[in-house]
């Protein structure tokens, strides 16, 4: 079985069923990666074709949670792009704290939580963790459970450690976890004040305002129309002069609300909201 088996007409029927039955909208996901995700689900569950997947989705409502877990991409690392985290520590967060005593942060699309733990470690090393209010959201409830636990395969820690060293943290990454049954158990006190919530960027509402939003490598799974819509929500969710960070290979240049932001750091894709 191969890619040729999933056609665009199949995907259209599938997204319509999901929208009608579950009120999640995948119509404007980027076609290439969405197609691969569906292909992967067909192989994983041994569905011979998309119709079998549609039938299962119609008949088995519990299966939908599994579907959401598999259709979303959950590959991430701690301190991904170390130079970004240095910039955050050395410039962005000190800048926010010039005018405030506290800092509110939203991790939009937090996946298994590596980025949230990275942020917590950074803030603890700055002695600012107590002053931070962090909300971490994802579309997938089961990945949020995993994020809350903060237990990562020990084999991933090699890469995470390398990133942390290049971030030039003040300690060792191993200061923040202990090894148990082949897992790295992150220190739970790092995230005791983090609020983990289920939230879908596509259909979800604007629920709060923040000083800093991280939405890195999330919108790459959307087409440009949807990126525009989501960026409007992210803009609305920022205080004036708040910061938005996207992935290192994403850009705001083409989006409709580009003029409401200025570029703070182009290399690290850090933007500042300057207009409501």
């Amino acid at each position: 079985m191969h890619m040729q088996d999933v056609e665009i007409s199949d995907l259209r029927r599938l997204t319509k069923v999901i929208l009608d039955e579950y009120d999640y909208d995948f119509t404007n996901y980027a076609m290439s990666s969405f197609r691969r995700r569906i292909q992967r689900i067909l192989e994983l569950y041994k569905f011979g074709n998309v119709n079998m997947l549609i039938k299962r989705l119609k008949e088995d409502r519990e299966f939908f949670d599994e579907f959401i877990s598999e259709v979303t991409v959950n590959v991430t690392e701690m301190f991904r792009d170390p130079s970004f985290w240095r910039e955050l520590r050395d410039h962005i967060i000190p800048n926010i704290l010039l005018n405030h005593n506290t800092i509110s942060i939203w991790h939009a699309g937090c996946s298994s939580g590596e980025e949230v733990f990275s942020m917590a470690i950074l803030l603890r090393e700055m002695k600012m963790l107590d002053k931070a209010k962090i909300i971490a959201t994802d579309i997938d409830t089961s990945i949020l459970d995993r994020a809350r636990r903060g237990a990562y395969p020990i084999k991933n820690m090699d890469l995470n450690e390398k990133n942390y060293i290049r971030f030039q943290g003040s300690g060792k990454l191993s200061d923040y976890y202990k090894e148990e049954n082949g897992k790295a158990m992150l220190d739970p006190s790092l995230v005791e004040n983090v609020s983990w919530r289920q939230h879908d960027l596509v259909k979800g509402i604007v629920f709060n305002k923040f000083d800093l939003i991280l939405c890195r490598n999330v919108m790459i799974y959307f087409n440009q129309n949807l990126q525009n819509e989501v960026l409007k929500k992210l803009h609305e969710s920022l205080f004036k002069y708040g910061y938005l960070v996207i992935g290192s290979k994403e850009s705001l240049i083409w989006c409709e609300i580009a003029n409401k932001f200025i570029v703070v750091n182009n290399e690290e894709k850090i933007y500042k909201k300057i207009k409501d």
Partner: protein, 197 residues
């Protein structure tokens, strides 16, 4: 008539390479005809956590500037693109790029199969796929997809490759239209260029 049976039906060239391909790539890029029309989309295995340096190294010798595309950037004529470190690079219908951080494919991110397959889907018979030296089988399935959809397939001559696993894997899986040395690939591109005048 030249040596190759080419015409101007093609809209893009996609190149995959891994271990031992860097020299060949720079040779090709430094010998491209001026005003070469077709976009060249390259997926080369590279260090996952070194973001900078590679594109600059390729640009130094290249006739045309080499850039790493941003997510949703359009594919433009006369440009050379390189898959960025630690992202898969796809081309969408409508001929623009999408990036993704999905699981590694063939132990690789970027995966050559992903770039080749999505190009085959977006360009169908209007695509030329070139597979170069490399130490694993990534790209073989992508070359098959290009052939299956009517595109043209070229493999670097295994005899010339530093490591021939990659072109050989493609040759085992699908029909390769031309098996060429780097020097001949350059001749091919020059002849191709003439078709667009």
């Amino acid at each position: 008539m030249g040596r190759f049976n080419v015409n101007n039906q093609y809209k893009a060239i996609v190149i995959g390479g891994s271990a031992g391909s860097f020299q060949g790539i720079t040779k090709i890029l430094s010998n491209l005809p001026d005003n070469f029309q077709l976009p060249i989309i390259m997926c080369l295995h590279r260090l996952k956590h070194v973001r900078n340096g590679f594109v600059e190294a390729l640009s130094i010798k290249s006739i045309m500037e080499v850039t790493e595309p941003y997510d949703k950037q359009s594919v433009k004529r006369g440009k050379v693109y390189l898959a960025p470190a630690n992202y898969h690079l796809s081309v969408e219908l409508g001929q623009y790029f999408s990036l993704s951080t999905e699981e590694m494919v063939n132990n690789s991110r970027p995966s050559i199969d992903i770039t080749l397959e999505t190009c085959a889907y977006a360009y169908r018979q209007r695509l030329i796929g070139i597979i170069l030296s490399g130490a694993n089988k990534d790209g073989a399935m992508g070359m098959k997809r290009i052939k299956d959809r009517g595109g043209l397939t070229i493999a670097q001559d295994p005899a010339e490759c530093m490591i021939d696993t990659m072109p050989k894997a493609a040759m085992a899986l699908t029909e390769i239209d031309y098996t060429l040395k780097i020097e001949e690939i350059i001749q091919f591109l020059i002849e191709l260029h003439k078709q667009y005048k």
